[in-house]
Symmetry: C2
Subunit: 314 residues, 2 copies
């Protein structure tokens, strides 16, 4: 297959096109995307997948730029993807602007994929897992997946990566502790960013607070480490990368267990996706589905009962 | 049908059993649940559905207790449900403990449904829409749906109610503004709770901040009102209820439009649900599905490609 060959040969334009293909929800793209994924499968088996999360303003893009550049300087090839559930009503894309990663965007050993525009909250999840597989197939040994710091996107990205890093900033305040709970539960490490200049003491306080909070949260079990550093100066990057490698490197039992679980969840998601797509394709030829939407919108019957009737007839 | 008759007759134990029935995911309950929903459909068409959201610690249960009691004193029958996406890894139920609504739990004109234990993040959404329909069928003219203040649950509840009220507290700080963005976009009004005693001035400041933020967010369009009050003293409840009635009462065009949209989304969700359930029931008789999970967990093939193969064979 030409596209797969070009991806394997390191053609970056082909890589971008391949990601667009596997992310596509157009029925006519499915077969080619399946062939591509099957061809690339298994390549890049030793890649390391790192999720990077944190609240707005914490400096995620700057951190990704810094960590990515640190890694390419150490001979890694680094791909950057974004999981962006977008805003529910505006549909706007919040992050992932390539221009915010100034070093990495110009780095020949890095590939930065701008954030997709479509939102996930309408029920259509972006196909980030497929995009990761394509990047790995193209020879990128490290895939950084950036996510915005709100609820569901962290949970989603935790299900796709070997290691989830939560970025926080010095003295973010007590208010966030409750909100963060769901995130800190799935994070493998916390990095207190912006610990430069006069914020150093505040960063150390924040580290101590997180260490205490994580101790309470995780008890005697696995407790995420808390790092302090600065994406601007580069301090702390080496330490956090060593922590990532411990958990996420090939051979790690945690990584093996997670990848197996994640593959099963991916199969679930793909089955859901394809079942719905097949049903809609079947229904497109009949007026029954449109009539059903009208019926429920007019309040004439319970949607669940109407769904049962549609399925019984299909 | 006996259960429907008992629900219609106001039997509260039957109501609790009916909700359990429609929330059930056991295949053998589906037919009875469908019959119940079909029987109750259209009753309680004039009900008002209010979502109540806000960050942990803002006093949601106390507010629901106070607003519910205010409404039952005004001859309304009030049902309280909870949407709880739960914690992804602990599966713990965070809210909805009946004992936290001390007045409402003893009120003969109120029905408080404790929070379901199952999480929604694993892909199985709690069937809150079905539970709302049952409460309405049982004659409850106001349904209050409480949700925890984190990401996805607000978006979910916004798709099930006529009006979404966001609770905040005085001087919650700048840190939350970014996090709240997704929530304030879907909220119909904001209520600054705990405006009692010495927190009154802080509450007024918070109101001014929200009015400014909402003005920037919504521009010249519909701008949610900001109320100040206290669930403890009862101040402000009357004002916010009048705002709710304006948008959510029968005859409101906003309400009519939302209910039509929500019914279509419910049909979508029910179709997804039932398609997956039917597929799994078919597959249960064959070893192909279990083999597929093993195959992807072992990393032997792309989950998406395996899903396609399974569907082609079904």
């Amino acid at each position: 297959m030409e596209l797969a060959d070009a991806v394997l040969a390191g053609d970056r334009l082909a890589l971008a096109r391949a990601i667009t293909l596997v992310e596509s929800r157009r029925a006519e793209d499915e077969a080619a995307a399946d062939v591509l994924l099957a061809t690339l499968h298994g390549r890049g088996r030793d890649s390391v997948r790192v999720g990077i999360s944190g609240p707005p303003g914490v400096g995620k893009s700057t951190f990704v730029d810094a960590l990515g550049s640190f890694l390419t300087a150490d001979s890694h090839k680094v791909a950057v993807l974004a999981v962006d559930p977008s805003s529910a009503t505006t549909g706007g894309s919040i992050l992932g602007d390539k221009t915010r990663m100034t070093r990495l965007a110009r780095d020949p050993n890095a590939f930065v994929r701008p954030s997709p525009g479509s939102g996930a909250l309408g029920g259509v999840a972006p196909r980030t897992r497929e995009a990761i597989a394509v990047c790995e197939g193209a020879g990128f040994g490290v895939v950084l997946v950036e996510t915005i710091g709100v609820g569901q996107s962290e949970i989603a990205v935790a299900g796709m990566v070997d290691f989830l890093l939560l970025l926080v900033q010095p003295d973010a305040g007590d208010e966030l502790q409750g909100i963060k709970r769901g995130i800190t539960e799935v994070a493998d490490a916390v990095f207190v960013n912006k610990a430069d200049g006069e914020r150093h003491a505040a960063a150390q306080r924040t580290r101590a607070e997180y260490e205490q909070a994580l101790g309470l949260l995780h008890g005697a079990g696995r407790r995420p480490a808390v790092f302090v550093g600065s994406a601007h100066t580069g301090s702390g990057l080496d330490g956090v990368w060593q922590a990532i490698r411990t958990v996420a490197a090939p051979g790690s039992p945690t990584r093996a267990r997670r990848r197996a679980e994640q593959a099963r969840a991916w199969l679930d998601a793909a089955l859901h996706d394809q079942l719905v797509a097949r049903f809609l394709a079947q229904q497109a030829a009949t007026p029954a589905l449109a009539a059903a939407y009208h019926e429920v919108a007019a309040g004439l019957a319970s949607p669940r009962v109407v769904a049962r009737r549609l399925l019984a007839a299909s």
